[in-house]
Symmetry: C2
Subunit: 282 residues, 2 copies
């Protein structure tokens, strides 16, 4: 039986786990913090303690470089997160003795893979996975393969009509993420999303933004299914508002994909990291 290591390094917290295709055997969660060397040390210590491992999958917050032919492969690149810009996180694991075959990708691509293989996206030929939480991130899986392009998509940074002029993205102000993710919602509505009752009109305002961005991704990517998750995105009252509005915007021009919540909850990323590990063995 093969044994996989999985790493989900998010902007806020890191998960490191050991397990296999059937699930997680043991895991540890800790704040990602501002010191990548310390975080990678903790990851390496955990993996050594629970090895030996056949392969490792690593899903990282972005922007990062998952292209094995690139000079900066395995680096977190132009992130605004303090301490992490231009950091060779895979190199840090290698220098700490993690020698098993390893696949590095974005955290959202890992979660998309997890949902495609084990969650709500099973059977989809063209899956769009979108997470709305402290940011907006998207991953697309076509025929079981992650869409990378030259680097990786940054779907949260598209611009949409109807976005309020004020947004909190440090790069783009009122891009989709700048107005549609947690911090943008809190700035606009004067309270965090989790404190807004389901029947408050703030959810309708958010649904309009979410549906507009999703319709653009439907036009760009032609998904057959949309899995919408994340702390904000998973809310059922948001789904109920987005579905009809998305259909209205598309206006019958192309088929409207089904919109469903994730099937794996907060396990999507780490289960997807195991799928990445499996791909490293191929």
């Amino acid at each position: 039986m093969v044994k996989f290591g999985g790493i989900e390094s998010g902007g806020t917290k890191t998960v490191v786990a050991v397990g296999d295709a059937s699930g997680v055997d043991v895991e540890e969660r800790f704040p990602t913090g501002d010191d990548p060397a310390a975080a990678m040390q903790r990851v390496a210590d955990f993996l050594h303690a629970h090895g030996p491992l056949d392969a490792v999958g690593f899903g990282s917050f972005g922007p990062c470089d998952p292209n094995p032919r690139s000079r900066t492969y395995g680096h977190v690149t132009s992130t605004p997160k303090p301490g992490w810009a231009n950091t060779d996180v895979v190199g840090m694991l290698r220098s700490r003795g993690i020698a098993a075959p390893l696949t590095f990708d974005t955290d959202v691509n890992a979660a998309a893979l997890g949902e495609w293989r084990y969650g709500a996206g099973t059977g989809s030929e063209a899956l769009l996975y979108l997470t709305i939480g402290t940011g907006i991130g998207g991953g697309a899986i076509f025929g079981g393969r992650v869409l990378h392009g030259a680097v990786h998509p940054e779907m949260g940074h598209q611009r949409i009509p109807g976005a309020p002029a004020e947004g909190v993205c440090p790069y783009h102000g009122n891009c989709w993420e700048g107005v549609g993710a947690g911090p943008g919602i809190a700035a606009r509505e004067g309270r965090p999303a989790q404190d807004i009752p389901p029947d408050d009109d703030a959810w309708r305002r958010l649904a309009e933004l979410v549906a507009m961005g999703l319709s653009n991704l439907v036009m760009a990517l032609s998904p057959d299914l949309i899995v919408l998750g994340g702390g904000v995105g998973i809310q059922p009252h948001l789904h109920d508002l987005v579905r009809p509005r998305l259909a209205e915007i598309i206006a019958g021009y192309v088929p409207v994909p089904a919109l469903v919540p994730p099937g794996l909850g907060n396990q999507a990323g780490i289960r997807g990291a195991f799928v990445l590990a499996e791909q490293a063995l191929d």
Copy 2:
């Protein structure tokens, strides 16, 4: 030596040709018209006259169905073009004796493939091909494979901020195509794009719309190269205005892909149809 048939069926004109990887040997161009049976008869007559053929590639205006596993494979589907909605164009060729292996795709995907193989996109790992003419259409080629998704992208039908309220798309009003393609430009500026001098401010207004839509596609698809063509899109003064504005909008968050004109001129579609024919042989 293999001999290919190629069909480029656009909303306005149809091109049918016979040739091979080195180029077109013989071709015929005629108005697509409102009668698909008559158009497919003319295509079949031409191909029979210049056969026998080893394979055929067919690039069609859309929306259409290029998914071989679908019930409506080879159909033009929800087009507003009179006479053509829900028409089994591949079936019309089959019933007229065109029996060679055939690949059916969108006209814009065919042109994208042509540019990737023989034109300005040679060597690109993640090519975005965009044409702006009577409509806006986009195709993406990743590692030499066309991105289809569930059906095919309809990149011209995204919504962008800053679009004038008035647009001419019969489905979406002021979507990207509704304001950025020829008919939308003519409605806004009071004259067709080809009558607008290169130094007129109308081009700056258009460049803003083009750059905004392209930046969204960069975020969704992560291309390493953008080939921008079409009767409107190919204009050098438009390229000169779009390039810096695209970089401004992206704001350093991800690499800005190079923006180049097509290398094949009006041959991209038909050369791409030959690439589709070659794929039908594989």
